[in-house]
Amino acid sequence: MNVPEVVEYARGLDHVTLADEGRWSCSVDYLSRMQALIREHRINRVVIASCTPRTHEGLFKRNIQQAGMNPYLLEFVSIREQVSWVHMREPEAATQKAKDLVRMGVAKAVLLEEGEEIRLPVKQDCLVIGAGAAGLSAALNVAGQGFQAIVLEKSDRLGGMLNTLSLVRHDSHHADAAQWVQSLAARVYETPGIRVITGAEIETIEGYIGNYTIGLKGGNGSPGERLHVSTIVVATGMREISPEGAFKHGENPRVMTQLELEKRIRSSKKFQPPEDREETNDLRSSGFHPEVKNVVFIQCVGSKNDTRGCCSIGCHAAVKNALALKALDPDIQIHILYRDLSMVKEEGEMLKEAKHLGIRFSRFPDDRYPEPVENLDGTLVVKTMDILIGKELQLPADLLVLTVAFQGDDTVEQLKGLLKVSANPDGFFQESHVKLAPLEFPADGVALAGCAKSPMMLKESIEAGIGAAMRVSIPMKRGYIEAEGIVADIDLTDCNQCGLCHKRCPYSAISVDADKNPRVIKALCKGCGLCAADCPRECITIVHFTDDQVLAQVDAALLEAPEKKIIGFVCHWCALGGVDMAGVSRLQYPVHARLIRVMCSARVSMKMMLRAFEKGAAGVLVAGCEFPTCHYISGNYAAESRVRRMKKKLARSGYDPERLINVWCSAADGPKFAKTMKDMVKQFNLDNAS
């Protein structure tokens, strides 16, 4: 494209004081020249026409700030990725497009307002809910920094699940569970800054990061005590799902779950737990008439079916307990009946050890679980099909151990309401992002650790506890949290208190007061714009992406020959990434699109789409992240449903709904974006239109 021509054009636009061409505008030389020019001409808005805001916006923002300007007074126009790299064979049309993009940039820039990072103070105190391995690890690490940690446990002792286990293992490492809990608890009590409250339950939770008030019921604190903390770690653990009569559990005392077996092993002589002597029976005298000689394990009870997945830890637990039984009595015959053996990496060593000791493994078909049959003396025979040898087996069982599935704690149902977070049907909390935010909830300052998220091993729970401590410690150490200046702003003049914004905000960043008036807690707002686009009374706007600014871009784009132009609203995180990728890959596509960046496709309101049609655009594109990815949790879902509604509205208003296109494009998918452009041009017959 002809860059000098574009510069010349820019120079002639209203409000433009200076247009300068820099060969490499991100180079150190040019950045200092830019600062000098800003100072010399006392410039108060800057438009950069160069590469892409996804990589370079931060750099230019810092640069104009160093020149004494507010960093939010910058508008970025992408003429490399969106023009010169993708329209290499049409220099004239490309130059024209670049001019349009610059005009759109200037139109927005004149409306830009100063913005600022918004801070909310955060003090150094944290509530840890649940005193299992994860919770205690979190508390120790929070307190290790000199911060306050309050550990809240509903039962009367620390340790959680470990209180019911015999020993814990990780490849060749063994530890006695009771001793493990004891030494951890001792450290908790020794550490200054940790307060332990047991036997208490949470009744109310109010507030947000920096400002939580928690109402308690019962416990060793003062009655009706209210706790004030800045952050929360949720570590409520999990429990076994009772087999509910299946496999004769509850009917025959010889049938027990893995945890019930652990308790018996724990209280048998060999392990001598230092506390907890109430169960003194050992395995042989625990109410079974004959000596226990044959033990059968059935894996995947209640797991891997239509409603529930793999229990994650059952194979390890079964092999570990089988080895423990062998250690108590080498003559015990053990049979483990399984579907898939999930023993990874070094656990393979445990498996070898088990096989070496004569523990037998037999695989049953996914659709035919083993069946226990009772003998007259109460002992059992387990009938099963071994698919590896292709034979029916009848295994005698003095003990039948069921490896059952897990579910979240009973209190999850209540807690999820109080914390305004979600959980799956089994009561495991839903983390903020499955891959990259596994330790937190969408709301700032609330972390998630250990088996409250999903079943995991002790080592993983400890890691999660320490990691969760890190997540909540960052704002506590800094003393504040900070939001970028791109946030929602509510003007209550026309508000009818419908509460939609409060309900729909994925980050709980909009609160309502006693009069039902909504208020944005700016420091918590991530600026997606969902509330603004949804507000039926148009009371909400997003700083830096106001209705006026976006509409001005639409108008500027369609100033000339609108019938040949496509207005594209693209989200910053993925769709624009796809656009950039098409550029980097030099994919050539038609020149008709004029793209407008929004942070999330959820920001694109019906009014914006409609404006483009009113001004005569050939078509409108709304492009966001491919499902299920969304930088703002679920903005693209909201955008999708809005586009669907918009199509109906367009039809009613006499526009062709087929000219509104919705595409979900990943940041790697340059080809998809290029193809979308080609398809739209073809569909709207733009190459031939006069």
């Binding site: 490499w24 330790l439 995180w573 990728m581 491919e626 790697a668």
Partner: protein, 450 residues
């Protein structure tokens, strides 16, 4: 600089550790010995079990890392010497030359276009991936700049048509180059960033703690494994991942290396090479391969539901949250999962199709299955540079080659040297979410050290 930490390895674990520590307020040196941060995730297409696009979620974190004032990124950099001192460490790093000036290069790509030599890419060679002798690691690379292959400068690429390397003097003797096309192209752009005479640089640091985040690698198959070396249409899971990636060498088209035609019948072999003699295959379960293959079949079906897909497996590892549902999604999409052990592969020389012989573990019978493309899930291995690094750091590897934790049950992620911590694939085969959890935890431990 006592209140600083060193993170070795800039994959998703290293990046998350760095971001957490930097936001906490600690100065971070993030070292990677390749040309860009990003690690394994930068090569992946989608990620199980949500099928989030990998680079879409990783790149914003990479840019954040680049923009954090508290983080100094050192790429092409190796850790050479570590000495414990006053409760912290004295570090010596060596920054290998990229032969490009980091301050000046803007990633415009003019030099790449000018370079006359394309060679098969190390990663994507078998599926047609090519790179120039001067190139960018991948489009989203951080830092966003090119580097020159040292083999070009040393003259090894002359036969392939390289424009330099045949001179009487070594490049280090000159301060400008009249012949290199990349140098000229860069001059023409007015930048003069390509500097063939650049040399390695020593960097010294003082830190209070070290986090090792050197990651994992996909195992390369032993040559004769199920026809890998013999037949074009036998590829690895890693190569398939690149094949289906819209940013990969085929722009996401799932085509056969032999003839570039779309594959209509594809099979995956799980645990390929497992149980074979030492050196022939990975001897342990790598935990994540079942879900990787499941992801790959689901994406394949999404590209084209008519493609016939089969997975041969032993034990299905659907160990994590929502993994089982992910597997069921594949089954619902029509993927066949066969409990079976393939042991022989033969190519039909005319069609270049492959006939797989396998033992069906449920029926005990020997059966055959014909496909257009065969994918070997060869498992995950430790990064091969671990041994050298372990020596420098004075910490141990376990018998499988991963870094050893002192006591995983009471002090996970700690090593035998106080102040040196682990996270991510450095500890063993692991998925992204678990890497991130460990990264946060190791970051906590590292910043907490006085």
């Amino acid at each position: 600089m006592r209140d600083a930490i060193l993170i070795i390895g800039g994959g998703i674990a290293g990046i998350n550790c760095a971001l957490n520590a930097a936001r906490y307020g600690t100065k971070v040196y993030l070292v990677d010995d390749t040309a860009s941060i990003g690690g394994m995730m930068a090569r992946l297409d989608k990620t199980f079990p949500t099928n989030d696009c990998s680079i879409c979620i990783e790149a914003p974190q990479m840019y954040d890392t680049d923009n954090q004032e508290n983080i100094e990124i050192l790429t092409h950099t190796e850790v050479r010497k570590v000495k414990a001192k006053n409760g912290g460490f004295d570090i010596r790093l060596v920054k290998r030359p990229k032969y490009v000036d980091e301050e000046k290069c803007t990633g415009c790509g003019a030099c790449v276009e000018a370079c006359p030599v394309s060679i098969p890419d190390e990663m994507d060679g078998k599926i047609g991936g090519k790179r120039k002798l001067i190139s960018m690691a991948f489009p989203q690379a951080v830092p966003n700049m090119v580097s020159l292959d040292p083999a070009c400068r040393s003259g090894e690429m002359q036969d392939a048509g390289a424009c330099i390397g045949g001179c009487a003097v070594d490049c280090s003797q000159c301060r400008e180059c009249p012949i290199a096309l990349c140098v000229k192209a860069c001059e023409k752009e007015g930048k003069n960033a390509v500097t063939l005479w650049q040399s390695a640089k020593n960097v010294k640091l003082e830190v209070k703690s070290i986090v090792v985040a050197t990651g994992i690698d996909a195992a390369r198959p032993a040559g004769d494994l199920l026809g890998y070396d013999l037949y074009d249409n036998v590829i690895t899971g890693m190569q398939f991942e690149r094949l289906m990636n819209a940013g990969g060498p085929t722009a996401g088209e799932i085509i056969r290396p032999s003839d570039g035609r779309h594959a209509r019948r594809i099979a995956w072999v799980q645990c390929a090479g497992r149980g074979l003699a030492p050196g022939k295959g990975v001897p342990y379960c790598s935990k994540i391969c079942c879900m990787i293959a499941t992801k790959q079949v689901i994406i394949t079906k999404e590209h084209d539901a008519a493609v016939e897909t089969t997975v041969f497996y032993n034990d299905l590892k659907a160990y994590g949250k929502n993994f089982w549902g992910f597997y069921q999604k594949a089954v619902d999409a029509g993927v066949r999962y066969i409990r079976g052990r393939p042991y022989e592969v033969q190519e039909n020389p005319e069609t270049r199709n492959l006939v797989v012989r396998y033992e069906n573990l449920e029926t005990g019978k020997i059966e055959t299955h014909e496909v257009d493309l065969l994918v070997l899930s060869t498992g995950i291995v430790p990064n091969e540079r671990n041994a050298k690094l372990a020596k420098v750091l004075g910490i141990e590897l376990d018998h499988l080659g991963y870094f050893k934790e002192k006591d995983p049950l009471t002090a996970p992620l700690e090593t035998s040297v106080p102040g040196i911590y682990l996270c991510g694939g450095a500890t063993g085969p692991i998925d992204i979410a678990e890497s991130v959890v460990q990264a946060c935890a190791a970051g906590m431990k590292a910043v907490l050290r006085p």
